[in-house]
Each structure stands twice: as structure tokens, then as C-alpha cells.
Chain length 285, copies 4
């Protein structure tokens, strides 16, 4: 669904009157609700909401200031964002460039509404000579066991200095240290090339082949310090057969990976993904 | 998602303040919103909403009376229903009993929360000797070209006299006359054994085989006087190959048909399906 | 694809001339090949083949005797079967009867071409009062930790005495002892209610809910003494969302389980599943 | 599955001894069969086969000459191809470049084993400035109603002069004349952005939106003079909801189109697609 208007997302302990308070706030300001989705988690008693509304001339800043009072009453964790102000995304890649190439293609044709803060790779720019990097800032940051600390410090400096809102590990293939993972909590999306929680860790397609599964998948998830255990945003699968070699799985997997990562990123860009403990609430379109 | 509380569904021309009015109405009565979904059709300017709320001791009848005022302001077409009062469903079947058997199974294990008003068939009860019809009223109403008028009159009498809210054509294989279709508009669900709008009419699996498609499907839709053109509620598909004979397609199709019909019926029972012209809005769980 | 003619399946170390030897054997006897599929495992050097042929008046027994010579040359593990002689299947069930009811339904309408040797349950026949067990031998064999040894001995006795070719654990929910698992190797099919290897063991839908996955699945596999690690025959999946409770997953899972189990059983009945170490080769139709 | 060895494909009227004759031919020359699939069409009595074999030092040309005798006996339509000799593919594109970009990406990373004879577009090269056309011959052939005849003559000249084996309409959006379609029969693959036979003709996503379907798809098919009626090679689908605008369908459709077209092309490159009247036999991997 096309997104016009401002986007309000919020989560708080569930109690009576939240929707009424939010919709009254908007109605009093003649802001028409264009789209709204909500979810009450019956297990945790947490409430989640995403509202898109026409601001009727009100500035986002002013509304944000005024909404503070409502938010306080309900102890909300919230955000009110103008999608016209694009999110900045830092992309990290490694040798396999199918996700990188795909994200850049989707960005160019307007499918991913974002600004790209830059591309970081542990391989030189020449690795991507067939991908149009255009004028995007490219940072070659090689990494080894010995230099990991320094390299991550530089990665972090780039993320911070560019003001990147989101970080995407587009088959980056380097495990982030606990420290960096902690700094990026809730805003770093990784694509894992297996149907988690099956086949965690390295070479998942080889694992899948050895186990003889009949379906393979990929999972986009938020990075946490617990490897391959972060909140899952999106997953998808494809059928395979005994005829498929590990190389066939890698090939079929590329298609799943790029579409799963692109979906997860688009939803994150549109404020559709809310954290719910170690799970996510995804208000899909 | 489990449905507790009362279910309010409504549609009306979109304008400011609908959500605020509805949520204020509920908040003033201490009714907590448990689930809410809405949709604005950008093409027609129609607004659709489904709200589940805890009634906080209020009787459904009283709330209905009080809500009338809100509904009038916004010209709503609406319903406020207590899911504890089960809908009555009349099932029509013919020779193929896979959908009938499946619906009865799901009903018995509590997956379909409904009362069955009866089973009507143009074949005798002995056709279903392996299906446990239990104490369900069974009506054998044979039909031929010559007797169609009388038979349909009898079908209609049974629907009316039992107060059936919904009618399900579980592979009934008889085209309803325009007259009966009109009487049942918006509450008669048919399962068509093709991926509409492909392969309308008779023998769709044979048509699909002849065309050499690689995927087949089934469609659950509301019946209208325009054959196979009614609003689609749900569709699903399965891959096939050149090896599949028409008989294989019929076999694979049975699986698709019964799950598509069961989903559509469950959504209709839970007031998740709203009519939007010749299309549907489906607030899935 | 409809199966007429005799079915020859074989596996052996790959070397030149296998196909030529087999097809010459058939051609010399004027047996026309109706369907043939083969697979060379590049990793193990094992060769697998399934041939359906018109016997041109030859008796299966005679052909079997004559084929012995070919089989010996290539060190084949093989079978030549007349599908007109139906396999005998023993079904084990427990409280949840959706797989049992589904298998019986498919059997009755001719979708599963088998003889049912009997139904064994650790619950009494009254548990299945809505399922038409007809004249099928029903064996109530309650089990507890203390009586497991005796119960399994009785299960085995029934399997042996009825000459059951296949055993189906239709949500039997009892872990077979290593001893019984060993006796049933390669002919006992279990349906596990998760997308293996994710969520092994008990309550997989609750595990899936807790992990927040976006897709759930079911796996049909041969039982081995290594719990949930046997060769996978078939898997399938369905999308879920954050809205789905564990009960919703159980409901959605029932649909996946019954179709996955039915497919696996049908393929086993048609000699389409060949063991390849801890994996399977499935010559699907 | 990785393809080594030579590929023999054939179709002929079914009769006894085809497989025996082919496998004896190979066995006599010590050619080991690596993969073989066959299909008997029970309706037409046509037989189809694809064999991959290790040539054991024999030259493809010599084998071709010797096989002629076998082929004549059975009236085969056949081909014996060395996959090391890559097929030449001419790609035709128009404004939407997602399929073009995707095919080039897959070609560069070795997923599509082909030589690209050139890219023809009715739009100038600058249209694709973000796609790396590299050194590929690019031909800008604008077309209008008045110049269609001349433009098609030029298209045909390029296909003929480059010796292109296959032609891919990668969202070319121009209907080929009957004359050109006839010349390219059986070797021109089009991607149609609908789940054929639903929504033939122009603007299928708008048609799908108007009809309110719940699943959309794309179809790769051989071009014939009968628009959107050619033999279907591959189809795939994706779920949509009432929330999806026509623009959303176009976006979701791009993903389906590019994977369906890539699959169909890869299968055609590997001689996996055989024509069977107005249908196809696809020996998938």
C-alpha cells in the first residue's frame, strides 16, 4: 500500500483507552487516519500500533511535541516520522554481491525509499565492478582476526558519522562482535542463508544438503550478540529435491535471500517492524 | 488469533474522525479494544473496519442500540455480533464429498465455530455413508432441469426456515438460478476448482491439463448471479508438471479446494470478510 | 501419473551399462517401459532407478527369477513389484485423529492404494467415534512407562502377524524404543509437526511460537532409533504471523501434517522412495 | 544438478524398445548415463527423453552421425548437444529493465551458461545506464505502427546473422507479428506478467486488481502467433491482499517475473524443455 502522511508507531503495556486516546489526539487536529494496525500480545500484555495519518498541515515536529503528553500517560515507546525524510542505510557486503546488487537495483527504481549512507566491504571496490555503485561512498575495510577490533571501530565510526538509521548485512559473512552488535541493536538487519532455527552457523546449504531436507529457506533478522538468534523479521522457502547439489542449493538460495532481505528492509524503512522481546511484530502491507 | 469479546464490523464513506468516534464510543464504556484492523480503499473512498473489544459487562443488544447514533452520522453499514452466538450454516453438497467431510471434521474438533443448520444434497444420504453426518438434518433434494424451480424453492425454504446465516456450496456442482443467487447475495460461499479467472465453467482441471499450465488452484468466492464472477474470498495453488493427468489434477485439487473453502468459511464465521463492490476486504488473522 | 504395469526399483554402485542392462532385459521380453527415473549420487557413487513397465504377459514371479542374474552382476538392492498386489499398512494413532481420519478418507476414495492391516492406538476405539473405522481391526494398546516393553512387543506381534509392509505413525506421539525402531527401519513413516531439523522433540509449535518464526512446517520421515533424525521423505510449510498463537499454529499445522503424511505414504506405496544413507531419493510423480 | 557430459534429447511415437535402443547405443560405446528422464504422453502416444552421458572420448559429431540410424528407426525428432558449446541468446527489452538486469547478473555469475548475441531494445542504450551492458552488442531499434515491418525485419536479420539459438523477450512489451513469431517458433521465450490463462493482453496487474484476486503470478512461455497462448514453460505466484494497489502488484510482480523467466531460460539452455503440441515437457532438475 502506498504510504502517504506521517507514520506513528508505538508500543506500551496494554490497557483501556489507548486507541481512543491516539485517535482522539488525531481527530482533534483534523488528522485523518489513512491506515492503522494494532496488536495485543496476549502473553506479555504488550500493545503495538502503527498509524498512518494525513497531518492536515500540522508539522511533524509540533505533533511530536504535543503527542509527548499522550505517550507519557501510557508509558509508550514511540516514534512519529515523516516518510518524506528518508532513512539512511549503511550496507555491508562481502564477496557474494547478489544481495548488494539487488538492493541497489530496487533503490534505483524507487522500490526501496531510502538514502544509502555508503557501502562497506572487506573486499575492494573492484570486486563489484559489474555493479553500478555510482557515486555512493565506498569503504574498503579489510578484516582479519588480528585487525577485527580496529576494523569494527572504523565500521562504527562510519555508521555514526553518516547518521545511518539502519545497517544492512547483505551477505557480509563476518560475525559482528558483541560490542558492535549491542550498539546496533534493533537497527541492523542480517540475511541468514537458512530457514532458522535450522542450520545455524557456517555453510548452511551444505548442512541442508547433508541432512537431506526437501525445502530450503532464508531468514532476515535483527542482529543481536547471540549469533543467528536475533528477532526474525521475514522468512521464505523453496522446494528442493535429492537431485540438488550444494551448489544448486546455493543458487536457489540466492533468489530466496535477496527477496527476503529486500522485504525485511522495505518493511523496516516503512516502520512496519516493531520489536517484541526476542520476536517481531510486522504490520505487513 | 483467538476471538474473545464482541465483534464490530463496519463500512462507510471515508472521512475524518471515524476511528476516533468508534474508539471514543468504546472507551467511554470502558470497552477495551482487543484487535482492530481497518482499510481505506483509495479508489472508491470507502472505509472498512473490524474491531474486537471486551464489552466490560455491557450487553450486545444495549451497545447495538447505543451505537446506532454513531453509525448514522457516518452512514455506516455495520454489524455488532457476539461470537458466542454461533452462526448457522447450511451446507449443500453433491457426489464429491471431500469438502463436506472436511468441513464436518473441522467443525467437530472445534476449528469451525458454527452451528450446522443442515446438509442438502441432490444425492441420497447413502452417498455419504462413510461420513459421520450424526444427527444433522439431511435433506435429499434431487434436481433435474424440469424440477430445478421446485427444488430451489425447497432449498430456499430450508435456508429461510432454519434461519441459516451462511450457505456453503461444498462442491455442490449445480448452478444456482439468478433468483436464488440474488436472495443469497453476500452470504453464500462457493468453492470453484480453478484459479479464477482462469478456467471458468465446467471441468476446469481438464481445461488446465489441456492448456498445459504449471500451477493449478482453487477459489472460494461469494455466489452472484454472474457465474464464477462473484467476489473472491480466498485462493490457493499447487505446482503440477507435465506428468500429471487430469485425474492427478483432480486429486491434487481436492487438497487445495478443501483448505481454501475451510479458510474462507472460517473467516466469514469470524466476520473477517467485508464486501467491497465485486471484491472483498479480508481482515485475516 | 497413473501407475500401470510392474514396478522395478533398484540401487547399486554406479558403473557403465546399468541402464542398458535393465532396458535390454525388458526389451528382450517385449516389456515396454512406461516410466523411468534414475539418479546418480555424485557424492557416494550410488545409482538409483525406478522403472515402470508393461509386462507383456510375463508373470512377476518369473521376471523376478530371471532378473536375479542382472541384479547379481551389478550388486543391486532391488524389488520388482506388481502394484495390483496392494501393500499392507498398519496405522498407529493417538489422541489427535486428523491424520488418521485423513488417511482413511483418502483410502476410501481410492487415493491411497493400500490394504489397511489395522489401526493401533494407546486410546480406546471410542476416541475415534466420529471417524468411520468400518471393519478395520482396531487394537487398543494402552502404554505407560512401566508397560512400554510389553506394549511394543504386542505392537510388533501385530505388525508381524498381519504381514504389514508399512507402518505409519499418524501422530502416534509415542517414541519407539531403539529395538522396535530397528526392526521397522525403512518401512515406518512418522509425521513430525515441525520443519525439521528445527524444533525437534516435544511441543514444536510452542517452540516455533517462542522463537517467532514466520513460517512453520511439517516433516514426514522414516523412523530410526535416532529421534527426529531419520531420512526425510517430504516437507511442506505455511506462512504465519505474529498474530498466531500456539493454538493457531497447531490448527494451521494440522493441515500441513495431513497433506505431508499423505504424500509421503502415497509415494512409499508406489515405490517412489528409495533410501540413500540417511537421506532419501524420491522419484515424485 | 550440474551438467557434465553430452545431452541427448528426443521425442518420437511411443513403442517398445526405445530406451533399450538408446541405452544399448550408449553402452556399446562405453558412454555412461549420468542422468536420464523420460515421459510417455498417454493421450498422444508421444515419447520424450533426455539423457546426459559421459562421452568416453567420443566426439559429439561422430556420435551424432552414428545415432542417425537409431533415430531413423524410431522416427525421432532429436538433438545431441555438447553443453560446452554455449547457446547464443538474443535478448529483447523495453522500458522496464528488471528482467534484463537480472538475466545479465545471472549470466555474469555463471548461473546462466550462455553467450549473449546482443541486446535489442526499442529504447536507446541510455535507458539502461545503471545496467552494466559491458561489451554486449546493443541495438536500438525504435518501433512504431508505421515502422513495425521494417523494425521486425531488422530484428530478424540480427537474430539470423548472429546465429542466435534462443530469443528472450525480457518484458519487451511489443507484440511480434505472426510472421516473426512463426520464424521463432519453439525458440523464443516470453515472460507474461500474469498467471495465464487469466488476464491475457495488456495491463494484467490492473486487471488482477480490478478482479480482486488473492494470488498473482507470471508465466514464461514460447511465443506463437496466437498471443499469450503459446506453450507454457514455467509459472509462479505470490499472495496479495486487498491492501495491494496496482502499483504494489507491479512491484511484487517484478520479483515473480524475473525468477520465472530465469528458470525458463536456464531450462531451455540445458535442453530440459521439449515441445509437446501446445504444451511443454519440462525435465526439471
Amino acid at each position: 500500500m502506498s504510504t502517504q502522511g506521517l507514520i506513528l508507531t508505538l508500543s506500551c503495556p496494554d490497557r483501556r483507552g489507548i486507541v481512543a486516546a491516539v485517535s482522539a489526539f488525531l481527530a482533534e487536529r483534523d488528522c485523518n487516519i489513512l491506515d492503522a494496525q494494532q496488536y495485543d500480545d496476549p502473553e506479555t500484555g504488550a500493545f503495538f500500533m502503527r498509524v498512518v495519518f494525513a497531518p492536515d498541515g500540522h508539522a511533524a515536529d509540533a505533533l511530536r511535541e504535543q503527542f509527548e503528553a499522550v505517550a507519557t500517560v501510557f508509558a509508550m515507546r514511540w516514534s512519529l516520522r515523516d516518510p518524506a525524510v528518508r532513512k539512511k542505510v549503511m550496507i555491508l557486503a562481502s564477496l557474494s554481491d547478489h544481495c548488494l546488487a539487488d538492493l541497489l537495483y530496487r533503490w534505483r527504481i524507487g522500490e526501496l525509499d531510502m538514502d544509502i549512507a555508503g557501502v562497506i566491504s572487506n573486499h575492494p571496490a573492484s570486486t563489484y565492478r559489474h555493479v553500478d555503485l555510482g557515486d555512493l561512498p565506498f569503504h574498503h575495510l579489510p578484516v582479519s582476526k588480528a585487525t577485527k577490533l580496529e576494523q569494527e571501530a572504523e565500521v562504527w565510526r562510519l555508521i555514526r558519522d553518516t547518521g545511518a538509521d539502519l545497517v544492512v548485512l547483505a551477505r557480509y559473512m563476518q560475525v559482528l562482535s558483541d560490542g558492535l552488535a549491542a550498539k546496533l541493536e534493533g537497527r541492523c538487519i542480517n540475511i541468514h542463508h537458512s530457514f532458522l532455527p535450522g542450520f545455524k552457523g557456517a555453510k548452511p546449504y551444505h548442512q541442508a544438503h547433508a541432512r537431506g531436507v526437501k525445502v530450503i529457506g532464508a531468514s532476515a533478522h535483527y542482529v543481536t550478540s547471540d549469533l543467528d538468534e536475533g528477532p526474525i523479521i521475514e522468512q521464505d522457502v523453496e522446494r528442493i529435491s535429492h537431485r540438488d547439489t550444494p551448489e544448486d542449493l546455493i543458487r536457489k538460495g540466492r533468489d530466496i535471500e535477496r527477496r527476503v532481505l529486500a522485504r525485511a528492509l522495505r518493511w523496516a524503512l516503512e516502520d512496519r517492524v516493531l520489536l517484541n522481546g526476542r520476536k517481531t511484530v510486522v504490520f505487513t502491507d
